[in-house]
């Protein structure tokens, strides 16, 4: 790349058909942080990639939809290949406030944490009771395992330090929900320091259609299987191409 100066911060924005919001997210991130932005186009059929480019982001395109976990894995592998020291994960739909990312970044920058999770609950974000109960259960188990109270285990608003980037470039769980929750368990296994920072998040619009509820139930069951078996499982292997060092 012939860019004049590369920032040591790479902001990852996984995006699937978010043409309405991605440009604003990218602009806002670039305005609030000294960073480069990489939008991972996860098989969008709309103008997400073009919008992102016009807002000044770099774009990498998946050949077809792989999911948010795989998109972040791609982004982390790019970050490792580019030698970035810090990575911030940001949603393309505008739920995450880029100005809040600065607070996540500060914690990894000053070396007090390797992985920082932005928690939406401490700032009064409300969810349905069922969802709240499920998140509490997950939080209870994960907090015990990780050794730090984590109340928002499925948060995708995160900052990664060099140790975390290096760990996840070798293996990163990509299945839905594992990309956030299991990643915390893996980080803790590798003795990375996990911190939680309260952040403001904009509420998601629209409800869940019933077909999604069944899929969510299956995904949650799978996640619980992962959590329960995690202590006795072998170290994960990542098949496929080795990442470019």
């Amino acid at each position: 790349m012939d860019a004049p100066r590369r920032s040591d911060v790479l902001v990852l924005v996984p995006a699937l058909n978010e043409q309405e919001t991605v440009a604003a997210v990218v602009s806002s991130a670039r305005a609030c942080l000294d960073c480069d932005v990489l939008v991972i186009n996860d098989g969008s059929s709309d103008r997400t990639a073009e919008e992102a480019l016009s807002a000044g982001a770099m774009v990498i395109d998946h050949p077809f939809n792989l999911g948010v976990g795989a998109a972040i894995r791609t982004g982390l592998r790019v970050a490792a290949a580019q030698g970035r020291a810090f990575v911030i994960q940001l949603d393309a739909d505008g739920q995450h406030e880029p100005a809040e990312a600065r607070r996540l970044l500060d914690q990894v920058r000053d070396g007090s944490a390797d992985l920082v999770v932005g928690s939406r609950f401490e700032s009064g974000y409300r969810v349905s009771r069922l969802r709240g109960a499920m998140m509490s259960a997950l939080s209870w188990v994960v907090s015990r395992r990780v050794g730090t109270p984590v109340d928002d285990t499925t948060s995708g608003f995160r900052a990664f330090g060099p140790a975390a980037i290096s760990l996840f470039a070798r293996y990163y769980p990509t299945v839905y929900l594992s990309d956030t929750v299991e990643a915390l368990l893996l980080a803790s296994d590798a003795d990375l320091r996990v911190r939680v920072v309260p952040v403001k998040m904009h509420p998601r619009q629209g409800g869940e259609p019933s077909s999604k509820r069944l899929r969510s139930a299956v995904q949650l069951t799978r996640l619980w299987l992962v959590i329960l078996m995690h202590p006795i499982r072998r170290a994960p292997i990542q098949r496929g191409l080795p990442h470019v060092a």
Binding site: F64, L225, I232, R233
Partner: protein, 146 residues
């Protein structure tokens, strides 16, 4: 009586094997759930044996064992169908990836005064490999190297 024990034993062994494979990271967790579902189905067949006996009399089947085996086979058929559907999706993706890879390798064009091979250089070089990486494609901003 021995039928119940047999099916139960199979179901338990199934679950144990599946969990061990998950532990070794040889089996994706979603398949573990799938096969555990089959095992639970098998266990239900054992537990609900009285119900099945009544059901088979209703349907006109002589032995409850026939119904147990039929349902067991039905579960397996359903699982096989699901796997076939999954394989179909995977094959589509593999094809798609192979085509992407072909496009990334680039187009070999006939060169004037060449040996006629159009052969690429050693692995990894992208410039002098005799291939044209400009497919003449649609991207306004072509990707660069990472």
């Amino acid at each position: 009586m021995s039928l119940e024990l047999f099916v139960l034993a199979i179901a338990v062994i199934n679950v144990v094997v599946v969990l061990e494979f998950v532990r070794r990271r040889k089996l994706a967790e979603s398949f573990a759930l799938l096969w555990s579902g089959v095992a639970v189905g098998g266990m239900l067949l054992v537990v609900l044996r009285p119900l099945i006996d009544r059901f088979s009399k209703l349907v006109g089947v002589e032995a409850g064992t026939s119904v147990v085996f039929s349902l067991g086979i039905l579960f397996l058929v359903i699982v096989s169908m699901y796997l076939s559907v999954h394989i179909t999706a995977l094959e589509d993706k593999v094809e798609s990836l192979a085509e992407e890879l072909a496009m990334m390798r680039g187009i070999r064009r006939p060169e004037s005064g060449s040996t006629g091979h159009g052969a690429p250089d050693a692995l990894g070089t992208t410039t002098d490999d005799g291939r044209d990486h400009d497919i003449g494609g649609s991207a306004e901003v072509p990707p660069e190297h990472i």
